[in-house]
Symmetry: C2
Subunit: 105 residues, 2 copies
DNA sequence: TTGACAAGCAACCATTAGGTTGCATATTAT
DNA sequence: ATAATATGCAACCTAATGGTTGCTTGTCAA
């Protein structure tokens, strides 16, 4: 779980995931196109995404294809974010109450 | 958006949010209890959460109370994660197809 | 088989992040 | 007033992060 959060913390990596969502199965070179970063930098980002299990790869000859795995993101939504969404209105009510009602100082 | 992702990337900070979710409106000292970290470290984490708009504060005398704001988390779920959940099954189907069906090399 | 292409590996660098320590400030209770 | 409490501020340190460069390896096409 921590690896996923860490992986998602960088905007370049989120951009890479976005690209794969739009077109899955791209090779490294394709993913590098248009980015102001060296190939090596992209490689490192992709490795981090792989270690977080957000990206799976497959060789086709000399080409390495990258596939998005949205499951970890789904799990975060399910196991973590939902906790906070559940209490959303409640917490907002609390906040309002505390910021307004309690202004006695 | 980036600040929120960055803020959520650290497990200590996620823990602090958890604590506030369980009991909202805690002061610094309370949030420090039981953590193997100095008060200053916690302060820094809370500042990062504040800058990401995940935590709001309010002074009551010399005590600084901290309130959870789950809205940014909700927005991430809405604007970002849903994109990936939407295509989840599709992408998994693609992945399966590409990993199995195409094994001609 | 030679050259071009796709990617890997390793060393290095600058910046940021997480954490500590020491001291200052403001509020409360005695 | 004084002491204890609750927090802030600033400097400092180490390790991790994001990035670069140079060189090597493997694969495909001519």
């Amino acid at each position: 779980m921590d690896k996923v959060f860490k992986a998602l913390a960088d905007s370049s990596r989120r951009k890479l995931l976005d690209r794969l969502r739009i077109r899955n199965g791209q090779m490294l070179g394709e993913l590098c196109e248009g980015l102001s970063m060296t190939r090596q930098a992209v490689t490192k980002h992709l490795h981090i995404l792989q270690r977080a299990n957000l990206v799976a790869t497959r060789w086709r000859g000399r080409e390495k294809l990258h596939y998005l795995n949205p499951l970890p993101i789904h799990e975060i939504a399910e196991r973590w974010i939902k906790k906070f969404e559940h209490g959303r209105l409640q917490v907002l009510a609390d906040l309002k109450k505390n910021l307004e009602g309690d202004t006695d100082g």
